[in-house]
């Protein structure tokens, strides 16, 4: 059982959704990122998605693209991901890594999984790796007991949802809308319907992401999902601001969202 499984079991028994916060590593700086993930955990994030910045983030909107570019320009490395994962674990949160596939492939799928496990990480979210292409990763993850967090989308057919959840572990990542990452004023009805379709195929926790920006949205989604995933709204707190002020904003936004998932 991973730390992720423990956290999701605990929030489920508390009768609330988990708050899952995303931050790309190396942003706003290599040092600042470590303070930021600790701030997120201390202010109420149950789970932190540590992002690995990538030159070609085709699932990301402008906010995360900007953060990733900033991190890359400052010379972020794959090893920084494992440092951030360790920081989240030390602060008492569950850590998963979210990354495009090529950096994992280049690092070596097995090596990446081993380094992640050694750092105390619980698993991997793979936005551009569908299970159809993920045989190597699935094999290694099963061997090491890491969570294989695949995505489902509003466009996924029931048969694909069933096939995907069948090889997923940890939680199912339900993309709330058809589109890239970025805050939206409304997440819409598609998310709720998608969660229902997922639940028809699996008992795994289902977390909803894409577009969530406010405590009110977190509350709404928390009523039907096991977790609420927030990325751009948190990243934005740290853009174009000095670190201390950014961390204050980040703590405040995290507290708002944490209150949201507690209804």
């Amino acid at each position: 059982m991973t730390k992720l499984d423990e956290v999701l079991a605990a929030t489920r028994s508390e009768g609330r959704a988990a708050l899952v916060g995303y931050l790309p590593v190396g942003f706003p700086s290599r040092e600042g990122c470590l303070r930021a993930v600790r701030t997120m955990v201390e202010a109420g994030c149950d789970i932190v998605e540590v992002g690995l910045p990538y030159t070609d983030p085709l699932m990301d909107g402008p906010v995360i693209q900007t953060a990733a570019t900033q991190a890359l320009e400052q010379g972020v490395h794959v090893s920084d991901v494992f440092a951030a994962v360790r920081e989240v674990s030390d602060a008492g949160g569950a850590a998963v890594v979210m990354t495009y596939w090529n950096p994992v492939l280049r690092h070596g799928v097995r090596e990446f999984a081993q380094d992640l496990a050694a750092a105390g990480g619980s698993g991997l979210i793979t936005p551009d790796l569908v299970p159809d292409e993920g045989a190597d990763w699935i094999e290694v993850a099963d061997e090491l007991g890491l969570a294989k967090i695949f995505l489902v989308a509003p466009s996924s057919t029931p048969a694909r949802i069933a096939a995907t959840t069948n090889v997923t572990s940890g939680f199912v990542y339900a993309a709330s809308v058809m589109g890239v990452t970025g805050a939206r004023t409304s997440v819409g009805e598609a998310a709720k319907g998608l969660v229902e379709k997922v639940r028809a195929t699996t008992d795994l926790p289902v977390c909803v992401g894409l577009g969530v920006a406010s405590g009110e949205q977190a509350r709404e989604i928390g009523q039907y999902a096991d977790g609420v995933i927030v990325g751009s709204a948190l990243v934005k707190c740290l853009l174009d601001v000095d670190l201390d002020e950014g961390l204050e904003r980040l703590a405040e936004k995290t507290r708002e969202l944490a209150a949201g998932v507690r209804g």
């Binding site: 570019t69 995505l151 996924s156 048969a159 993309a175 589109g179 890239v180």
Partner: protein, 423 residues
């Protein structure tokens, strides 16, 4: 594989090895796009079996594009190629000025068949964007073209052409601001608008079924050329030269010859300032290694941590860090060979063809011509070389004018260079 494909089931996961050329290819995409890729695959396979569709496409190729494109022998140019006979397959004479229209007509017909009302495209040199804008106008589809900001500057004429054709051109200001970033932005648009939008991907890269589908829409180039050169010379060429950015004109002309084992298939990549300088776009001879970019497992110019490295080429159409997966397969299997051509070599060939034959080639195609000059010298007077003249050079007059100092008010702007344009 490559001829016979296992169809995706449309349900559950795809069969193992879907869309693979050896180890290369596949479908590395967000789950949100899988349904659209399966819809596209089902429709294109059905369309290829549907006589109404194939007849309509063939008729457009004849009466709109101007196919078959002619074969031109270029004896004065050949004097600089060791005396080998050189024939050009004149895709530059197609409507819109390049081979790109072949694929675009096929895909926009498919878009209409799928009930899509909007098409989007990425473009580097602008030729694919112009072709897509043209077909969208012809078929009454809304059209948005994504183009790296650097490319909109070095291909300003094509931006205006697309706008005149009724398309919206969106300059992409992220990353290196060139073709790869335009592809990223097109994918982002597609994910959000997939219900009514078709992404007319312009080359043999991307997730399955694009590499195979785009090749199939271009294979007419090689089918025609094979018949034409047999009719003209009574034999098959010793070598075929084609430039390779993503590699669509090359796959189009190579495909029919793959079984002709004595015909050398030669792909010419953007060598930039020279592979040894690090400023190039040569996936096969530079730092390229197998990886995933834009939905396919293929050769990618990347660093030790899997980050894409910026490329450099005087040719916007070759300035791309990845390459079609079928080329990666042909490279590894040894069936095709790939060589870099420097900016200087390409521009020399550009000038030479212009001044010996009165044909202004696209700078992309000039790389193929430079390759033919080298292979012609290897072969000598008995040699016979077929060159894919994939596009015409009208769009490059400004770049070439600056290169040769005919227009001296500003510098040649190459993606990623520090020099500023002084207007």
């Amino acid at each position: 594989m490559s001829e016979k494909q296992v169809r995706p089931s449309g349900e559950g996961l795809a069969p193992a090895g879907l869309g693979r050329f050896g180890a290369y290819g596949g479908r590395y995409v967000p789950e949100a796009l899988v349904a659209a890729l399966e819809e596209l695959d089902e429709h294109r396979l059905a369309a290829m079996e549907d006589e109404a569709f194939t007849t309509e496409l063939a008729e457009l190729q004849r009466s709109y594009t101007g196919r078959p494109s002619i074969l031109t022998e270029v004896p004065r140019f050949a004097e600089h190629c060791g005396g080998a006979r050189i024939f050009l397959k004149r895709e530059d004479l197609n409507h819109t000025g390049s081979h790109k229209i072949n694929n675009v007509l096929g895909q926009t017909l498919l878009a209409r068949r799928m009930g899509k009302t909007r098409v989007i495209a990425e473009t580097g040199a602008g030729q694919h964007g112009v072709a897509t804008a043209t077909a969208a106008a012809l078929m009454g589809l809304e059209c948005v073209v994504y183009m790296g900001k650097v490319d909109t500057e070095r291909q300003a004429l094509n931006v205006a052409r697309m706008q005149l054709l009724g398309a919206k051109v969106v300059p992409v200001e992220h990353g290196s601001q060139t073709l790869k970033d335009a592809v990223n932005e097109a994918f982002r648009d597609w994910v959000a608008n997939v219900e009514h939008t078709h992404y007319v991907l312009g080359t043999v890269t991307g997730p399955y079924p694009f590499p195979e589908m785009v090749r199939d829409f271009h294979k007419v180039i090689g089918e025609e050329a094979r018949e034409q050169i047999l009719a003209e010379t009574g034999r098959l060429p010793d070598a075929i030269c084609a430039c390779v950015g993503g590699g669509s004109n090359a796959m189009g002309i190579f495909h029919r010859f793959i079984g002709d084992e004595d015909v050398r298939l030669i792909g010419l990549e953007g060598g930039g300032e020279g592979v040894e300088t690090g400023k190039h776009a040569s996936r096969f001879t530079g730092e390229g290694s197998p990886g995933v970019l834009h939905g396919a497992y293929t050769y990618v110019i990347q660093d030790d941590e899997g980050q894409t490295v910026e490329t450099h080429s005087v040719s916007a159409g070759l300035d791309y860090p990845s390459v079609g997966p079928e080329h990666s397969y042909l490279k590894d299997s040894g069936r095709a060979e790939y060589h870099p051509i420097t900016d200087a070599e390409a521009m020399e060939a550009f000038k030479l063809l212009s001044q010996t034959e009165g044909i202004l080639p696209a700078i992309e195609s000039a790389h193929a011509l430079a390759g033919a000059m080298k292979v012609g010298r290897e072969l000598g007077p008995d040699g016979l070389v077929l060159v894919s003249l994939s596009g015409r050079g009208d769009k490059d007059v400004h770049t070439a004018g600056r290169w040769f100092g005919l227009i001296d008010e500003d510098e040649v702007v190459v993606a990623g260079d520090e020099e500023e344009t002084q207007v």
